[in-house]
Symmetry: C2
Subunit: 345 residues, 2 copies
């Protein structure tokens, strides 16, 4: 492995599903001095970011802000709506879907794990949108979702540590009957405190600063433009990687605008690919999880990622593959990626 | 209320029990770019901060890092050691002691709330040291404590959003039998992941950067010096405020080195005192909680607080009281505070 004295982990082109790159103006906003979380200035800040979260979830209700990673938000979704013994149909498409089901089971729900299409009329619909929100269309209100969970370190472009939860009226009704034990993740005190511009517990103030700035950037780009950009990034990654001999795991018809999983061809060692790419070319991509560990790589293209970043990633992944003996043409891959981002795939 | 166009909430002299002021070098460390939390650089970082946390807790074990406020750490202490129906003796000296007991009750423990001296030989001892750790002596190992919980936004001098939990061997034994449901706050996966330099869920990376820098500052000052400084700050606040006619709530024999609660004399309106102090003199102090709301003010003097900050606070509190018609002598209060910080009270 090449050792480069002035290249550090922080200098990477970060193409992972999270933490995603944080824009400079968000990093600077985050480093503002502390304020009292029980003072008028914080009340105003929390009310402003709550207003800014609503269009992200496409909801008229107030999304609640938790100081926790996304997994904490998933736990909040479950413990606020269910009771031990309740039946849960977990529709899982990957490692994190399994996690959502595992939390429900830990709290005593009867979990059935299915891979079929969902749709249980009458039941509550709880959605893990941690990686998806703002990268792909989601309409919390219009689609009749009951609990939608998002996380800060994804398309929101801020560091990990905050989770956001949108609740429907049906979910709030269910919360009155829900008997799963809860305290830190109890959303009723969060709702009550929000009316005063506060969190019930001490919130991660620096991350709320970051959120405030990121929401301004999200509003500047516009919701539709942001979704369209993610589709272009997705198409670029898929087209470029195909030329490099890395086939996407998911079909085009259901490809994620947030992250692309790619099969590692036979004869290639997945950790070696990532190590070469990181160590020599300064690009960080992710490996697989669960039973796909070692068999796939995952390229994140959500949040503060540009078409330039995607072309950088494709070009340098091609270089790394060449170094490992694959007969690939990085320039051809970049050309395909660029054409795809312009809708000419 | 005076309105000052260039004075904002961030420009306050922050004398509250948390969030405490964050040193400039910690704010700058915090604003570093994101890295993959599943990469060698993060593994090294997490292992370094874990090593740095050990002397703070005075433990040979590895304290665990949670992305949550202190309340989440308290929940972790309880759900990892107890089962529904277990008897808990809650020794509470204030609003947060009540919270610890409330969490236990929410998860089905049988809670007795006592105001007596503690000591239950054989039982597990779970300590809420969120505000106290590093401000006052605590020896997790030597005192035989089982679970000690601390929080980032206190004497650790970093923004809110992280909680730290030290466990004894007895606590780990108890965790095998503990039947309270848990997932996000389950400490066993945290311990297992730490061996790889990872957190089980995505950690608040920017706050871990901040912790890394703050632990360096804590090591530079030295544990004993840090405790001694907090005692000097405490003595200065108490002596100065007494001259201003604000009597400490706690006796000298059990006065906290972290925060001083002061009775608001009859005829003074507590919100008016804090509003005048904030609005005209740029000093933020806290009010009371629970049944003491409106009857006390609380001055935080933990973390990155200097003797200068204490003298500023006393002088300006004196000014605010004068403005509200109290016949106090701020200069005499400052002199008393200064003498007390030099051990000449």
């Amino acid at each position: 492995m090449a050792s480069d004295p002035v290249q550090s982990a922080e200098d990477m082109i970060l193409l992972i599903p999270g933490p995603t790159p944080v824009p400079g103006r968000v990093l600077r906003a985050q480093s503002r001095r502390m304020i009292n979380h029980r003072c008028p200035a914080f009340h105003e800040l929390l009310q402003r970011v709550t207003a800014g979260l609503k269009p992200c979830f496409r909801t008229a209700g107030d999304p609640l802000l938790l100081t926790a990673s996304g997994t904490g938000g998933l736990e909040a979704a479950l413990v606020n709506t269910l009771s031990p013994g309740d039946r849960v149909l977990a529709v899982s498409t990957g490692a994190f879907g399994k996690r959502f089901a595992d939390i429900a089971a830990a709290y005593g729900a009867e979990v059935s794990r299915l891979d079929v299409e969902w749709g249980l009329p009458g039941a509550l619909v709880l959605v893990d949108a941690i990686s998806g929100l703002l990268a792909t269309a989601l309409e919390h209100d219009a689609w009749g979702l009951d609990v939608t969970v998002a996380g800060s370190q994804k398309a929101f472009m801020i560091p990990p540590g905050l989770s956001f939860v949108a609740m429907s009226d049906r979910a709030w009704e269910a919360s009155k009957r829900a008997r799963m034990p809860r305290f830190y993740f109890d959303l009723e005190p969060a709702r009550t405190s929000l009316a005063k511009g506060e969190n019930p517990w001490t919130p991660a103030v620096s991350l709320v600063y970051a959120l405030d700035e990121a929401l301004a950037m999200i509003a500047e780009e516009g919701h539709e433009a942001m979704l369209a950009r993610h589709l272009r990034l997705r198409d670029g990654v898929r087209a470029g990687c195909r030329v490099l001999g890395l086939e996407p795991l998911a079909a085009d018809s259901c490809a994620s605008p947030a992250v692309t999983a790619l099969r590692v061809p036979d004869g290639l060692d997945e950790p070696q690919v990532r190590a070469r790419l990181r160590g020599r070319y300064g690009v960080e991509i992710a490996g697989g999880q669960g039973h796909l560990k070692g068999k796939i790589v995952r390229i994140g293209h959500l949040g503060w990622v540009s078409e330039t970043n995607v072309l950088q990633g494709v070009a340098l992944l091609g270089q790394a593959l060449r170094d490992l003996g694959r007969p690939v043409d990085p320039a051809a891959a970049v050309a395909a990626a660029e054409a795809a981002t312009r809708g000419n795939a």
